[in-house]
Symmetry: D2
Subunit: 325 residues, 4 copies
Amino acid sequence: MNQYGVNFRLAIWGESHGPQVGITMDGVPAGIPLAEADFEADLARRRSGAAGTTPRREPDLPTIVSGIWNGRTTGAPLTVTFANTNTRSQDYANVERHFRPSHADWVAYRKFDGCNDPRGGGHFSARLTVALVAAGVVAKKMLPEGVRFTTCLTEIGGCNDPARFDEVVRAAAADRDSVGGVVECRVEGVPAGLGEPFFDSVESCVAHLLFSIPAVKGVEFGSGFAGSRMRGSENNDPITDAEGHTRTNHAGGINGGITNGNAVVVRAALKPTPSISRPQETYNLTTGRVEALEIRGRHDACVALRGAVVVEAAVAIALADLLKR
Amino acid sequence: MNQYGVNFRLAIWGESHGPQVGITMDGVPAGIPLAEADFEADLARRRSGAAGTTPRREPDLPTIVSGIWNGRTTGAPLTVTFANTNTRSQDYANVERHFRPSHADWVAYRKFDGCNDPRGGGHFSARLTVALVAAGVVAKKMLPEGVRFTTCLTEIGGCNDPARFDEVVRAAAADRDSVGGVVECRVEGVPAGLGEPFFDSVESCVAHLLFSIPAVKGVEFGSGFAGSRMRGSENNDPITDAEGHTRTNHAGGINGGITNGNAVVVRAALKPTPSISRPQETYNLTTGRVEALEIRGRHDACVALRGAVVVEAAVAIALADLLKR
Amino acid sequence: MNQYGVNFRLAIWGESHGPQVGITMDGVPAGIPLAEADFEADLARRRSGAAGTTPRREPDLPTIVSGIWNGRTTGAPLTVTFANTNTRSQDYANVERHFRPSHADWVAYRKFDGCNDPRGGGHFSARLTVALVAAGVVAKKMLPEGVRFTTCLTEIGGCNDPARFDEVVRAAAADRDSVGGVVECRVEGVPAGLGEPFFDSVESCVAHLLFSIPAVKGVEFGSGFAGSRMRGSENNDPITDAEGHTRTNHAGGINGGITNGNAVVVRAALKPTPSISRPQETYNLTTGRVEALEIRGRHDACVALRGAVVVEAAVAIALADLLKR
Amino acid sequence: MNQYGVNFRLAIWGESHGPQVGITMDGVPAGIPLAEADFEADLARRRSGAAGTTPRREPDLPTIVSGIWNGRTTGAPLTVTFANTNTRSQDYANVERHFRPSHADWVAYRKFDGCNDPRGGGHFSARLTVALVAAGVVAKKMLPEGVRFTTCLTEIGGCNDPARFDEVVRAAAADRDSVGGVVECRVEGVPAGLGEPFFDSVESCVAHLLFSIPAVKGVEFGSGFAGSRMRGSENNDPITDAEGHTRTNHAGGINGGITNGNAVVVRAALKPTPSISRPQETYNLTTGRVEALEIRGRHDACVALRGAVVVEAAVAIALADLLKR
């Protein structure tokens, strides 16, 4: 459903081309200083503009419509909305029944009996992640002082040399194609003891949120898939003191589903943007035939560029919810 | 918490060396034929005995203690328990405060103020997965006819040639060491339309459960991490008919978080068993020093061998819950 | 928390004097025709204007900001907002620390460390019930055809003769006082079989929502408290046919927590509005003394008059959620 | 569903004549001293034996099967089971399709397509309240020191003179009939600030649990239904000090859904036991006719006698869950 969390709960709504996207956060403690300007830094990280990002420009101005009084949170639900201003729905007229490959168009049509809003992907649009970023900002304010996020792209299009990222993206764009990437989020200063056995391990909660992000198709913690190729003697992290510090951190800061006080390390694999401008052969419900589709609209050649802050937001939200239990 | 699900809900309990491990399943439809013998096939897949598996032998006899009448489910909670019979708690006396690396010993001690049951890992033991397997059996009975699971190990210790798996495990065991592996679960016949935007994508729900399994540290769907290294034109799956079939299946049967009618494909990375019998240097709370620990007890050299059916159970449970929404 | 439901889920937000009150509904099926005008009939029943209702006039114009496309619900979250236009916050300056008796002022101040929004009761205001009424309208559209609600006041100020209700309210208002009342909601055509043992009985779910309504202090089903004074032979409802019809309906249409196909009958006791204009002696945190408080602001002499439709909405929401399980 | 709670979560199972009734409690803090003997006092209050209670005698010996180690809770799920020993299923052979009036027999048959366990009411039996009482014992241990419960019957069969209760019950039993009653639970020492707007008011949570108890058909807080007949000037509770103490307590210790530090006072109306031994005319599915039914089995002439401790348990559970948020 469109709600997440136990003690820090989100409800999200909106469509790519509807009047607004919004999120309401329940369980935010009273007394946290908060203004609309506080969202700007993270929203800017998500905003388009760099090479390889969509030419659609949204100002992304957050409006706090509830839960604030005298510049502080009140303990009541905190709701933030974003007006959609820069929509060009006519770009999508041709995809309503000529389904874009690897998009949600066909499943949305099937699941909602053709009543889904198809404009710009409707409710399935990555546009909704703007609301997730807003919730991430609030989540970070709920975490204890000393928690520090370092989030970066470790790979783009299979290349792991950041000096060449721009080149890789431009090459794909020049080919009217797209590339994916891997985002790593590292969180230092997370208190030991977060996470709830059996089903609400830190990995479960973080992955649950990460896999809500439209492009994410893989998630790993610490040594992850590489760790499954090691021996126990290599992958194990010997404990070095009473505070649980470990010599290595192959566990990504989590044992038994519970934070161990070392840095939490998670990586998310983002697929290449499915919207590419080169023609693709795909099924057209109107004609009943497989036909070439040319996607108009405005898209990212590498959605991972703007996705790093969204991944970070998801991790922060999961940790904030676990911290409040 | 120790509960999972919305319309098919589980609650799990028990410890490695307590009297029993159990699970209660809520939301099981009335009228499903069910007997204790129905659990045997999957329990056998999880049972130890093969080379590389623990010498601890548990008969794993399930007892249905509620929710059944005249050989059919009643619609009331279905509860299955497993007595623990073959415990050797004395093996764990030395690890209560001399924390095993990469186990939950230290986090459990910290989170529960030293009141956790340390025998065999207590509630954090992989012993609890026997209950998950039982729930998976019921979940599979709740899925429509025609849903077929194919689950196998695609890698052990980095080797992806099944002909050599046995050799890899024996070599590790001979070195008093352990190896991890990758389990792939492929589900054909899943109806299109399962999954709930925004937060309860199929990937979110499946991953949530998979990361509850003690050894899992990575999860990917379809092309997953490899897909993030492809271009959009390669990774996209063109749709070929009105039923949503696609030419390729890099999406692993899921678009926009919703099943698209193609096979659901998921892989889980299982770390090497942290319990190895060679001595490891790790912190001893009693002496306040880092000292060599020798783990007694009986352990798997490759937990992934017995983990395949657990992964399958987790996938089945997630699908059954989504199907009931 | 500010969320309710399992398969039909609400999240509510807003304050009496903030920019808006809103609600987002998750789990609304796709394809239901819906326009803003559809809310008008029920909103009119809640609107003030009659004798005994507050002079604060809110136009209560609903705005659907998500979940609708081409005049039908889309299956995505349906969000409805109401702007607050007619606020007079200066009326509340004197009650911020001079707590009104039997209001939430003191508990809000205590629970949220003085950071709560005190204007007009903030998030605790009955103003939020406008959003509940909107959700009730949608809930009723989700129920099967043939479900009919009949909701009325059976008592005002202890008087159970509707012909005298107006007189009772005017007398209280003339005394600068207020009166309570009892609302009865009767629902015919409810399918048999709604309700989930053990904890989600129909009574549990309906009462949970009813007790969210600020003024409700008592709830009973069927013969309720009066039934506890009968003998079994009087209170029992003999079944007369295979469809479960009963000769009497002391059970209020619910046995074992499950609807039995007879009319669901529930009554809610609403306390007299605590805001009365006559002076009341109560604690003033600023002076540290008990002192006379004169409540300004604009209030209902009988909140039950406007509460009937709110009670009906709560019942409809609970039934819609149970129906979707 | 058969689960309740957010941070203190219950899952209940079992049938009247199945092998066991059980409950698992999640979220119990680690370190609480607990032994099976601790349940005895409250179980004794629920046990039959007095005049007017069922001749079915169950020893009600609790077995703790998980969550305990060295005499203290471990933080893992705490599971308590009760074996059913004294069942006489043959008593129910005649009611499987000849539905008892005002019992769950017909709705269970309908809802579960005839697959429900009909013996002794199956999962709908008041037998399950033994598990609720066990959870109540644990809940009370989770509440702060100084919280004191006083629970008593204020009415039996419409009589509010405790001196005559025994006589009222005996008279009903002599007539092969039954009587209901009203239970009042008063809790002193509850900290101010429990309860979560908007939907999880203290009243909502307490009532949700109370209406799970099979016989409860009405719930009121403080002055309740009587309060709806008062004027505001009578029903209001003036605050007398900075700690929120009030001169009167018509609110039953709850304002705006939040505890205000005064005693929480709640009353539950329990209907007369529907099982009476005098013949009743009711529908017989086998013959397709309304026919006289004679209920065998062993029943309470006044279930309220044993219900007081169940009501108390429900209140304690709701408060413990709210306290942990």
